[in-house]
């Protein structure tokens, strides 16, 4: 009976670990595809930033320094990083834990550090896609990268991804999936309007202006606006991002649960 379905020798053991590079590449490619395939995530990571980029660049009623498109790009890059590294990452981690995928992978030959690396790789790949897409649209809207300091901007994007990623993992790795979903979306919304992303720190009332610059959102957005408008970002903003990445990452390594 079984012979009919499975030829003898089909399952003869041949165990062993696949090449690490292939394992990592497969996981990064899959996690990237998953992130770019899911409607709500794409809305958050690409559609909203794109709409804001176009809107902020073309609609004059929002006060922005000139050239408008440069300032708008800085704003939406900060938003894009926050959406992917924090909100999307936290939500998908919450549900991946619920669905037991981390345990599934932990039971394969993949070293656990590689599983984490694969996740981060997927996140980095999505940020790269965002930078390319938003950059291309900004170019079409008249952005001239030569005016600003793309090198600084890139560094800020990397540090911002690390800082928001660490907080996202911390959140997504500790609460129930539904709670993660709610908290991640609320925080995203609050930071967008009152965290220094859409509304610059300088336009916020007194104490809030100081506080937002200590948040990863404010530090990243302010730093990017400075960098893309030709200046050198404040050391303080860079330090804020590094501190968030290190502190949240440190706590996350201790508290994050795989299930």
């Amino acid at each position: 009976m079984s012979a009919a379905r499975f030829e003898a020798g089909t399952f003869t053991p041949a165990p062993g670990r696949g090449p690490l590079g292939r394992m990592l590449a497969t996981q990064v490619a899959l996690e990237t595809k998953l992130a770019l395939r899911q409607g709500e995530q794409v809305l958050l990571t690409l559609i909203i930033p794109l709409a804001l980029l176009v809107g902020l660049s073309l609609l004059e009623f929002v006060p922005l320094p000139e050239p408008r498109v440069d300032a708008a790009l800085a704003t939406v890059l900060a938003l894009a990083v926050m959406s992917t590294a924090f909100t999307s990452q936290a939500i998908s981690l919450g549900f991946d834990r619920r669905y037991g995928v981390l345990r599934r992978l932990a039971a394969t030959a993949v070293p656990r550090s590689m599983i984490v690396l694969g996740r981060l790789g997927g996140m980095a790949a999505v940020v790269l896609v965002q930078v390319v897409v938003l950059g291309a649209v900004a170019l079409a809207l008249g952005w001239r990268p030569g005016l600003g300091s793309p090198g600084w901007a890139l560094l800020l994007v990397v540090l911002g991804t690390a800082a928001f990623g660490a907080v996202g993992v911390l959140l997504g790795g500790s609460l129930r999936a539904e709670l993660v979903l709610a908290v991640a979306n609320i925080v995203w919304f609050v930071l967008l309007f009152a965290g220094g992303v859409l509304v610059p720190a300088s336009a916020l009332p007194g104490p809030l202006a100081v506080v937002v610059q200590l948040l990863p959102s404010g530090a990243l957005a302010e730093g990017l606006r400075t960098a893309l408008l030709g200046g050198t970002p404040a050391l303080g903003h860079i330090v804020v991002l590094i501190v968030w990445a290190v502190v949240a990452g440190g706590i996350a390594t201790r508290t994050v649960r795989w299930t």
Partner: protein, 309 residues
């Protein structure tokens, strides 16, 4: 292979949850190329035991050797040699069936062909369906595919047929038999008696984290060997003579009118005594059955009949 270590050896395993022992001094042995069924009611500690063996859960005490190594450190080299089918879950909510099998296959050096496996497990029709939209049975077959795709030496199947239809169950049974025939050791948990009886070389019945009985399916069903013989005949026969004719230890009763029950060690001698006694009474013993205890009887006797949460 001579001198090859047991596929699995567990001695005195104890795992506590908040002070309560979920597994309480469990011993298990699994030889290479054989099937061990861990049978028990819900909450008996089956899954906990399996998860300790898989290296996914830590233990409070006891010795565990999986393919000769301690799974506690969960060395990558050991995990490369085992296949795991968890009870429920085990995939990204949005991942497609073929993608998930491909990902787990990429973790192995010499995996089975994912396309073939997806097709063979009857998942070709939903190869592009996201995990969260699969039926529970499809999810289970996907989990099974992921457990075997890396060509492991030892496979852990936690309730592999719990939500499958009869066809799906047959498929899994065939697969387990094929694994065994190809030299793969299989530890499966189940609360289906028939499954354990059909597949396993050795059955361990656990309850409250302890082994309550173990042996081959034949041992377990014959053990305690109080078997019974039932027959129907005219109601109200005088059983004194029959009792006297039967070997010592056998008792006869008429539980319901016209239905007789002989309890004791039923052998051919007892059978012929009963039929010849009926012949002398001038009655025909009808519907004569020697009842072998089913594994379910054994199981319920050992673990009680009350419902578990």
């Amino acid at each position: 292979m001579s001198g090859s270590p047991a596929a699995l050896s567990v001695r005195g395993l104890v795992v506590r949850y908040q002070g309560r022992a979920a597994v309480d001094g469990l011993d298990l042995d699994l030889a290479p190329g054989s099937v061990l069924a861990l049978l028990g009611p819900n909450g008996a500690g089956k899954t906990t035991t399996v998860e300790v063996c898989e290296g996914l859960r830590s233990r409070d005490s006891g010795e565990v050797r999986v393919l000769g190594a301690d799974p506690a450190g969960a060395p990558d080299t050991l995990r490369a040699r085992i296949g795991v089918m968890p009870q429920g879950g085990g995939a990204y909510p949005g991942v497609r069936v073929r993608e998930m099998v491909g990902l787990v296959a990429a973790c192995a050096a010499d995996p089975l062909d994912p396309d073939w496996l997806v097709d063979t497990l009857g998942l070709a029709g939903c190869a592009r369906t996201p995990y969260k939209r699969l039926s529970v049975g499809q999810q289970q077959r996907l989990a099974l595919a992921c457990a075997v795709v890396g060509r492991p030496e030892l496979v852990f199947l936690d309730e592999p047929t719990a939500s499958l239809d009869p066809q799906g169950r047959r498929l899994v049974w065939d697969l387990v038999r094929a694994l065994r025939a190809d030299g793969v050791a299989v530890l499966l948990t189940t609360h289906l008696m028939q499954e354990a009886e059909t597949l396993a070389d050795h059955i361990v019945i656990v309850d409250h984290g302890r082994v309550v009985a173990e042996g081959s399916p034949e041992d377990l069903t014959a053990a305690g060997a109080d078997r019974e013989l039932r027959f129907r005949a005219a109601a109200g026969m005088d059983l004194k003579l029959l009792t006297a004719a039967l070997p010592e230890g056998c008792t006869v009763s008429e539980p319901s009118s016209g239905s007789y029950l002989v309890e004791g060690a039923i052998d051919p001698q007892v059978l012929s005594t009963v039929t010849s006694w009926c012949a002398r009474q001038g009655v025909l013993a009808d519907d004569l059955r020697v009842a072998r205890r089913s594994l379910e009887d054994v199981f319920l006797e050992l673990t009680g009949r009350e419902l578990r949460s």
